[in-house]
Symmetry: C3
Subunit: 213 residues, 3 copies
């Protein structure tokens, strides 16, 4: 029997795989921009793709993480890393692409993370928070390893769309609708919001006054 | 029924809340000094306030961490972040304030962390170590995310007061005294020691000779 | 009854202790090079020596980590830190030594990590991955805390020898041979490969073309 990270729907497994893939590509692109070699690209792709899910699984007590025992989960970020390594010149403008893949991963993971947490018996509020952490975790690990300020701390809308996307998924789960009917819109809401914030240059308010040192 | 991070005494819950609040303020102040926006302030406040406890809970197997499921624990760092965001100019000299709040959090967490570890069946030595890790964890997460050298590595007395405060709490627990009688002195000992070391500029010995490169 | 991190063989406990010791020395040497004081040296030694094992134990659900409850495991990195603190000038060329101790720790941990994971019921592939993570974890923690790019991301052969060493250990475990007959060769293979890659300056391929920014 093959284990799966998100039960029960095949839809959720697919969304999770796609999330791992796009996050892993964002990690691989950061590695390429840093001038790392193929192993650095693979390590960053693997960490970015699986880091958020590992963090979630450790916090909800789902250890060992299912991804450790499932060939598919292990190979997806490797494939993403190899694709990035060989085809990155065709990918063109890097920074923008990193952000697009990162936004897609954020949307996918905040939803699958929240639904898996519900599945493990967490209440609605903790489940939504676990969804946000799942979405944020991989990017934080990527940025810490690469020596960048984590994207979640930079001046952009990031944690909020993840929390809202996760909350929509949690609300949908209790609505009795089919998973299709709320998971896809929740992913689109989070990813779309994040991309719109990037494109429009939306900025959150900064502290008034200067920070006296 | 509402879950609580530290059983059984209401005193310990209060100390834990105060620890989360002051650590979260130290995180928010670092974010303000870095010029981050309101979300960055909230994320750093949340991570600093809850990071040490999450680390402890994962290591002792208390997952999902009770703080994830308790509104009070979740809102305390948000409140601290908002306070920091709006009132930081009144807080004046930042670096010194970060250190004072950080020392208070260190003292509170090393005690509540050690007592919770005892509560989960750990022996005295591991419980004291878990107390130290709980005290250190939030500040390390804050500094890593903010791109600073973690305070525990800088040339000051930091880990030792946390370990001693935790050891006093562990010894007190086995003494049969009421929690009041040993928890408060243990907090004061750790925090006072840390503040005194800061004020007096106490420095620990450095390696003799130069580090040949 | 004293708990041990690696059951059942005394050989594995010994290998684990030696791994902790040499990784802790590599952490202490990084601290000395950074000009940290004695507490910084001890903290980095402790984190580097025990970080990989803690990561493994949290992921396989072996919490609280046995190392937390075993005096021997706790004192070994402290002893390594003190040795580094007092005798580092005699240790001579730092960077090269860090790398040698790091390679030895990598080899020891990838094997003991994989065998402990098997012991906890993981399958061969996840166990080999856990071995790799155990080997990599301490060095990543050391480098993140010290503000260096993690060695696993730099342009050298690092993760691959750890994965192969762990895989050899996993294969050996199922061969029915005595632990001696496969654990030692697996350690030597990983450490030797890593040291040879360092000495020969082997480099992995880098992405073709420039990373357009």
């Amino acid at each position: 029997m093959e284990s799966t990270v998100v039960e029960p729907g095949a839809l959720l497994v697919t969304l999770d795989m796609v999330g791992i893939f796009v996050f892993a590509i964002s990690g691989g692109l950061v590695a390429v921009r840093k001038g790392l070699d193929i192993f650095g690209v693979l390590v960053l792709a693997w960490t970015t793709g699986l880091g958020g899910g590992f963090l979630r699984d450790v916090l909800i007590g789902a250890v060992p993480p299912a991804a450790l025992a499932d060939w598919r989960y292990l190979m997806v970020p490797v494939a993403a890393g190899l694709v990035t390594f060989y085809f990155h010149p065709a990918l063109g403008r890097m920074e923008r692409l990193v952000n697009v893949f990162d936004a897609a991963g954020l949307g996918l993971f905040c939803v699958t993370g929240a639904l898996k947490a519900l599945d493990f018996g967490l209440g609605p509020v903790p489940a939504a928070l676990m969804g946000m952490l799942t979405g944020i975790g991989g990017g934080v690990a990527r940025d810490l390893l690469a020596g960048r300020v984590p994207v979640v701390l930079r001046s952009e809308i990031y944690a909020t769309p993840a929390l809202v996307g996760a909350a929509v998924a949690v609300a949908g789960e209790s609505s009795g609708l089919s998973t299709f009917a709320y998971a896809i819109p929740a992913v689109v809401l989070c990813t779309g919001w994040r991309l719109l914030a990037l494109r429009k240059g939306w900025e959150a308010p900064r502290p008034a006054g200067s920070a006296s040192t």
